[in-house]
Amino acid sequence: MNATTAMEVNAEARRILAVSISKLYASRTQRGGLRLHRSLLLSMVMRSARDIYHSSREIEGQSDAQPTSEPMETSSDQTVPEPQPELQPAVNAAEPPSEESDSEDEGCDSDIAEDKENMSPTKQSRKRRGKAAAAPDFLPSKRARLEPGEERYAAQLGSCRAGAAESLTALSLNLNRVIPAF
């Protein structure tokens, strides 16, 4: 896979991830409660998308996107991201309008803030189950999203999170936790 194809795959993977997350969020408000089968399938798609995203990132050769760096914090901490201009538009384009995102016409900061809203429910669902997340190492509400571009900025902004560095790798844990324990 050459770098261009890898980038397309990368964008596709991100889009699928975003769509999946918004579906997960929507399913929580569905009548009849969370459907285990559907949640499982969604998390599998997210995992595939994340894996493919990772492998396409490596192929793109953007090796300074440390996979273990922390994603963005809350919007209040956020500043406009530094260059990776080819990524940023792809990132914003990849975010589909979700039920919470009404900020298509606002700046990218607000976009990102709105999309953080979309991210949070998966973490909220984890919190609600009260599992190992009893002492969560992530913020309970405004959860950073998994945008790749932001990974390299987290170090600059400083984390207000006490715990371990989160990353798309760590998202694998999160994906598992998407399935609530009844």
Binding site: G32, L36, H37, R38, L40, L41, I179, F182
Partner: protein
Amino acid sequence: MAGAGGGNSDVQWCFSQVKGAIDDDVAEADIISTVEFNHSGELLATGDKGGRVVIFQQEPESKNQPQCRGEYNVYSTFQSHEPEFDYLKSLEIEEKINKIRWLPQKNAAQFLLSTNDKTIKLWKISERDKRPEGYNLKEEDGRYRDLNTVTTLRVPVFKPMDLMVEASPRRVFSNAHTYHINSISVNSDCETYLSADDLRINLWNLEINDRSFNIVDIKPANMEELTEVITAAEFHPNQCNTFVYSSSKGTIRLCDMRASALCDKHAKQFEEPEDPNNRSFFSEIISSISDVKFSHSGRYMMTRDYLSVKIWDLNMESRPVETYQVHEYLRSKLCSLYENDCIFDKFECCWNGNDSVVMTGSYNNFFRMFDRGYRQDVTLEASRENSKPRSVLKPRKVSTGGKRKKDEISVDSLDFNKKILHTAWHPLDNIIAVATTNNLYIFQEKLN
């Protein structure tokens, strides 16, 4: 060829009836969620999202029209399930009827099991066409007579009355499922039945509603390790110790209840290795089995996944003996189908009476039949446009290549909101019931 059905390549299907509102605006409660013929085919039951069950009865064949099998008319309608609220989990429990299964008839009354996500109910449907008249102490309208006016005694007699069909809940089987019930299946012993949810299968006695036995439990100790769920389960049609359950990973496990009380260890596992060329983001979703049905003979079983129907010989676990592509042209559209949620649609499938033909639904109100013997398949459409009585259904075709022939439909013009998830085949005759979103179509074989 014009049609496929009954092992005869010349079968043609005609429109017979359509039930339900003509409105394009579909009320959510009217969405049909299950369709099932009884064992004789005389009765046809449907369940809907509003928790109602409607039973149709076939009229006896009229002597005037021996060419036409009897029509189905409403026999009984009742509210089976109501919406409930689980206060502990703050969850609403939908009243949607997930499955209906008829019990074999033993006496004058008919019995069926209906289930929503959490509760199974046994309903007795009985007819009353006589009532007693001529009581000594009561007037006909129920008022008590003045005893002084009673001078003679008479024996009350039964007089005919207008037929009344009563449905009464005889048993309620509740509080046995933590997850959402997807299947119920009556055992051939006619004494027990199973109910399956995402992670567990329970065995019930039809007479005992306060106790059930758990026979399969695939819940992992740590829910984070969950990799598959149960999607459907069914008892073998004549071996009362055997049942199968399908999973979201595309495997089917056959279990023998004689082996142990808890059948976590399967007796057979049916799985086809995945074709690596077809791997995509959505491979797992499309390999999830949405329905499993034994053939009437019990020798084969059929599974439905998103794109295909597979027939398995119970004696061979390594791969299916037959695979039929239902709508392979959707394989390149999986991403869009994921976005519009269609990829999660759970299609059912069914056998005809002598196991020679199988049928399943698709989109655009199309449904497909596959004749196993003649190796033919046909696509037909359930629509009001083809609803002139006894009009023959014309086979439809979806054009997959660049050039669209006349009368073909391109993939992009398919209406994905019009899906046929539930179909049923009369156990003895070539009569089929096909449910669109809120209408029930009945088609019959053209008889000369």
